[in-house]
């Protein structure tokens, strides 16, 4: 194996330290996980780390001035700053329901930007 990476798993709050020895995605050897969910997470971290994006967008008509939003699934970590930038152009008005889709196929990532609160 050419590469070795130590990953702090963020799948759950335990924060296990997982070691990945790899050359390619297929031959990766994963050690140090306490549950199986850590394996794909740790391998992904070596090739294309993914993150659920959470932020807020402007909303009118509520005492709360911004509405919490999130992506319906993880997006590439490398696109987090693009995602933050894209929200600046969005302005909504009440009513909004939790789970309402605000942007479909957000930044062509294949996941939606959804409301995380009803206002």
């Amino acid at each position: 194996m050419d590469m070795k990476k130590i990953v702090i798993c963020t799948v759950c709050p335990n924060g296990c330290e997982i070691t990945v020895d790899y050359t390619t995605r297929e031959d990766a050897v994963v050690t140090g996980y306490t549950c199986k969910r850590g394996i794909p997470y740790a391998i992904n971290e070596c090739f294309e780390p993914m993150r659920t994006f959470t932020s807020s967008v402007k909303i009118n008509g509520s005492d709360r001035r911004v509405l919490p939003v999130k992506t319906s699934g993880p997006i590439p970590k490398a696109r987090l700053m693009d995602a933050a930038e894209a929200l600046k152009a969005i302005e909504l008005t009440v009513p909004v329901k939790m789970g309402d889709v605000i942007v479909e196929n957000f930044l062509d990532t294949g996941v939606n930007l959804v409301s995380a609160m009803s206002l």
Partner: protein, 417 residues
């Protein structure tokens, strides 16, 4: 003065209060009232817009507002009554004195559940020297300004303390266009969860400086710089190695303190370590009609724990109000070697499981956690890694719980530091 009467009253409409109220109702309380000082349910979760909640309770990852909304919907369906924009001022025996824009309310209760949450430690608590400039915020206040009000707090930021909110705000500020120059932690280890370091600091190359502290702040109007220095093993700053970082904002994430001023008015005994009430396994204080749960009882790491713990509090409050909660002699539950505190601090033998929540005193690896009483070891558990930032939970099963005697002691022994 308006008078009201409820078998169970809950102070606080955050995650703890909502879970306690729902559980009280499900366990037989005919009418349950929640007092909430803000205009919306959810407590501090309303501003915790990041994900990471609910993995244990709901089996899926939610943001704070989503977690809160699920409970709020459930509470409304359960027929819980709410008084929003209403502040509890004082407990006088079995009457809760509250106020809102209609006047002073006297709310009589059979059982009261305290779920007021916690507050952040301030700069003054730590006696951080330097100027009194604008731009010094606790991390949670900055979180509220940004996530509820849509404000910006600053452009160049240094964060003191590696608590979870501080790290989460480091990411939030970075995504909002600010530059977070460092997270400074006086202890040699992280205060918050490792996953937050990974996804909030490492992802954005934000430096974490362990064993460092702030020794000066400059700026007459707004903060202009902060001076940090490494500390020796006695946590005394080594001034020769001090270094100035230019910044316009300082966030403090240096710990949370249960908000127990209302509790004090009822003369409930508080723990000097947790700063919350001393309770038994029913979350019952030494005023038997007062129960406590969530961060007002002890500061939790995960809201999922809070929900479980609060459901217990609500359930036992309902039982107490109905005259069904057993009263028996209580024995002490104490932290032993390697454990900082255990909640509850008291327990009585009972034919049901007893949950113990505790924090270890220092980080370590290959740790053996042991719960024993005067008759010997009750339960043990082995963990690869433990840190004081994580709450550990162990449950004494019912068959053993009914025979506990003497004193219960919880220990944590690390094989490696």
């Amino acid at each position: 003065m308006k008078d009201f009467s409820y078998p169970v009253v809950v102070v606080g409409g955050g995650p703890a209060g909502m879970a306690a109220a729902i559980s009280a109702k499900e366990n037989g309380a005919e009418k349950v009232l929640v007092i909430e000082r803000e205009n919306r349910l959810g407590g501090i979760l309303k501003q915790c817009i990041h994900a990471g909640f609910g993995l244990q309770y709901f089996g899926e990852e939610l943001s704070g507002p989503e977690y809160a909304e699920r409970f709020a919907v459930k509470a409304k369906e359960a027929g819980i009554e709410f008084m929003l924009d209403t502040t509890a001022l004082e407990i006088r025996e079995q009457t809760l004195v509250c106020v809102n824009t209609t006047g002073v309310l006297h709310i009589n209760f059979g059982a009261l559940v305290l779920a007021m949450g916690c507050r952040e430690r301030t700069r003054a608590n730590l006696v951080i020297p330097g100027s009194r400039a604008a731009g010094i915020y606790s991390a949670g206040t900055a979180q509220k300004l940004i996530n509820i009000y849509g404000h910006k707090v600053g452009k160049e930021v240094v964060i003191l303390g590696s608590g979870d909110i501080g790290m989460i705000m480091a990411r939030r500020l970075t995504l909002g266009g600010a530059k977070v120059k460092a997270v400074v932690e006086i202890m040699p280890y992280l205060a918050g969860l490792a996953r937050n370091k990974a996804q909030c600091l490492d992802d954005f190359d934000i430096p974490l400086l362990l064993s460092h502290t702030v020794v000066d702040i400059t700026g007459v109007d707004r903060v202009e710089s902060v001076t940090i220095a490494p500390v020796d093993e006695n946590r005394k700053p080594i001034m020769e190695k001090a270094e100035v970082i230019d910044c316009d904002t300082i966030l403090l994430s240096v710990g949370l303190i249960p908000e127990n001023e209302l509790t004090r008015s009822a003369d409930v005994t508080l723990s000097g370590i947790t700063k919350g009430a001393v309770v038994n396994q029913y979350k019952q204080t030494d005023k038997p009609y007062i129960f406590a749960c969530g961060n007002v009882l002890h500061v939790n790491d995960l809201v999922d724990h809070v929900s479980h713990e609060s459901e217990d509090a609500g359930k036992y409050a309902a039982m107490y109000a109905a005259g069904k909660l057993p009263t028996v002699d209580q024995i002490e539950v104490a932290p032993g070697e390697g454990v900082r505190y255990v909640c509850p601090q008291k327990a009585s033998p009972a034919d049901m499981p007893i949950d113990l929540y505790f924090r270890t005193a220092a980080p370590g690896r290959n740790t053996t956690l042991t719960v024993s009483d005067d008759n010997g070891v009750l339960i043990t558990k082995k963990l690869l890694v433990t840190t004081p930032g994580t709450i550990e939970k162990m449950t004494i099963p019912a068959d053993k719980a009914k025979n506990i005697s003497g004193k219960i002691v919880v220990t944590a022994v690390h094989k490696e530091a």
